[in-house]
């Protein structure tokens, strides 16, 4: 059986996490930001699976199932809120949704 060293897998998962983070910081569309967060969640899930395989335990995969469920919940509420944002602001651009800010005058 082909075995990949654990370091390689961890670096892969780390890169995936970075892609998500960079996507979140550079994208201004709220839907893309939600997608980037999803990538970050899944990269963390991947590390759990890698670790579970490394330690020969099922715990990592159990955790991944929990992560999937939670991520689904987050997206469900996120999309519902996006609809409300669009309803109020007529845009999904994160920079235009900014009525709340420090106003010291």
């Amino acid at each position: 059986m082909l075995t990949v060293p654990i370091e390689t897998m961890l670096i892969f998962a780390g890169l995936l996490f970075l892609i998500g983070l960079v996507g979140l910081l550079t994208r201004r569309n709220l839907i893309f930001m939600l997608m980037s967060i999803e990538i970050m969640f899944n990269s963390a899930g991947l590390v759990f699976i890698i670790a579970g395989r490394h330690w020969k335990q099922a715990d990592g995969q159990v955790m991944f199932i929990f992560i999937l469920a939670v991520a689904a919940v987050e997206v469900a509420i996120g999309l519902a809120l996006l609809l409300q944002v669009y309803h109020h602001y007529k845009t999904l651009d994160a920079d235009s949704v900014g009525k709340l800010k420090d106003n010291n005058q």
């Binding site: 979140l24 967060i37 970050m40 759990f48 670790a51 335990q57 955790m63 987050e74 106003n103």
Partner: protein
């Protein structure tokens, strides 16, 4: 699982069952008063069940939960605060349009998440509790769908809290990779083993601190706090400032003490830096605030900075001081937000400090409670906040954390300025701004809070005795 295990989980079971019952009741009979009455009752039952549970402790339900006196204390604080928030919400939410019964339901699910954090002994429960808490809070923050700022606060909170959860998860995953266990105690016992494990745990814990820092609103992860506090309905802001932060603090203290983080030079520097930054930036940004909700947001950032000092003491006494500090901070913050809530009923939020001009002459009772809360936050003698700060400084000095304590004292002085600004505004004569009258319900809650602040401030001995006798890890 034995029957005694089930008994020791009674408070959690009550809080978990209540929303299920409420869902059924709502589907049959949609009545605001019924749901409100039921949730108050359920919180009281949950609180009472704590005393029943006390005789089965300590008990660890392998491998997920640890129910000991420490967690029971936090459960008590969480449930009592949630109850106060429920009572304060009654009039405020009642006058909103649209469906509103689900508000109490969501309040319960978030309280369940917070309670899970208080008993967590395993990463799975840590993660699930935190997510249950945050996901319910997204809904609560955006509860006034018709208001654009409420929705905006909701989406901001959702995005940032999700990112922080992702960081937390990745940190947990790294610790699991290094140690092969997700139990707090297991991680702790393996930590002494080798440098490789310590490396994984250091990186993992740092990433977890990003997630935890977001939830506690520590600088530099505090950006969301003022916006969310301002946009959310006032009782929800109170809930975020108290229950959500207290629960995360509970799990942070347990984990940090389990892995003996205060012995590690690296963690010591990280936590000190977070504490100092939070104190200074929180207080300095609050100085020029004209919006009282944002002011309280910055003040909560500073307060969490003060609390971090106790993490580094590494003693049971430090934990006891932290529990006392949290109790007094909870009472005080709910008092401040309570007055804002009760004065914002069926009108735009009364959130500008100018709105409170002359409050003492038109609504002396509300002004008195707000004054007390502000004095307590500032740490003036005869209020709960003074004793809490005194206790904190005492334990910090005993542990030799002189630098942190000096920074804290400087910041308490800076803090005085903006807390007193709110008070002077209330005593400046002004015309009646058309604020609503306070109902019996609201007055009851305010009386409880006032008594709490004064009793803890004038005669705190009995509570400190209970805490020092019972609470330890």
């Amino acid at each position: 699982m034995t029957i005694a295990d089930l008994y020791s989980m009674m408070p959690l079971i009550v809080i978990a069952m209540a929303p299920v019952v409420m869902m059924i009741v709502i589907s049959i009979l949609r009545n605001y008063e019924v749901i409100y009455g039921f949730s108050v009752l359920a919180f009281i039952v949950a609180f009472a069940s704590l005393f029943f549970t006390g005789s089965f402790l300590p008990r660890s339900i392998e491998p997920l939960l640890i129910v000991d006196v420490y967690s029971l204390f936090f459960l008590g604080i969480i449930i009592a605060s949630a109850l106060l928030v429920t009572i304060l919400s009654h009039d405020y939410i009642g006058t909103l349009g649209g469906v509103k019964e689900e508000y109490f339901l969501t309040l319960f699910t978030s309280t369940l998440g917070a309670s899970l954090l208080a008993v967590a002994g395993h990463f799975v429960i840590f993660f699930l509790g935190l997510e249950l808490l945050s996901v319910s809070l997204y809904i609560l923050v955006a509860f006034q769908r018709s208001k654009d700022t409420s929705v905006e606060a909701g989406i901001k909170y959702l995005l940032l809290a999700s990112v922080s959860s992702a960081f937390l998860l990745f940190g947990m995953a790294l610790i699991y990779t290094g140690t092969g266990t997700m139990q707090f105690a297991g991680v702790a016992s393996l930590l002494k083993g080798s440098d490789a494990i310590a490396g994984f745990v250091s990186v993992g814990f740092s990433m977890m601190m990003v997630g935890i820092g977001f939830k506690l609103a520590l600088v530099p992860f505090h950006m969301w706090t003022p916006d969310v506090y301002q946009g959310a309905p006032a009782p929800v802001s109170a809930y975020i400032a108290t229950v959500s932060k207290g629960a995360v603090m509970a799990v942070l203290i347990r984990f940090f003490f389990d892995i003996r983080g205060y012995d590690s030079r690296f963690f010591f520097v990280v936590i000190s830096a977070l504490a100092i930054l939070s104190m200074f930036i929180g207080n300095l940004l609050a100085l020029k605030q004209q919006n009282i909700k944002r002011l309280l947001a910055y003040s909560s950032i500073a307060n969490m900075g003060y609390l971090l000092v106790l993490l580094l003491t590494g003693t049971d006494k430090g934990i006891q001081a932290a529990v006392f500090y949290l109790i007094s901070y909870f009472v005080t913050t709910i008092g401040a937000f309570g007055v804002i809530t009760l004065l914002s009923i069926s009108r735009e939020e009364t959130e500008k400090i100018d709105d409170y001009r002359g409050l003492f002459w038109t609504r002396p009772w509300a002004a008195l409670v707000l004054t007390l809360s502000m004095l307590s936050l500032a740490g003036i003698p005869f209020t709960a906040g003074f004793i809490a700060k005194f206790y904190l400084i005492l334990e910090g000095m005993k542990a030799g954390l002189m630098l942190l304590i000096i920074v804290m004292i400087i910041n308490s002085v800076i803090g005085l300025y903006y807390y007193l600004r709110v008070i002077t505004s209330m005593f400046t004569p002004g015309d009646d701004a058309g604020l609503p009258a306070i109902s019996l319900n609201g007055n009851m809650a305010l009386v409880l809070i006032t008594l709490g602040i004064l009793i803890l401030g004038i005669y705190p001995g009995w509570l400190i005795n209970i805490i020092t006798r019972l609470v330890s890890l």
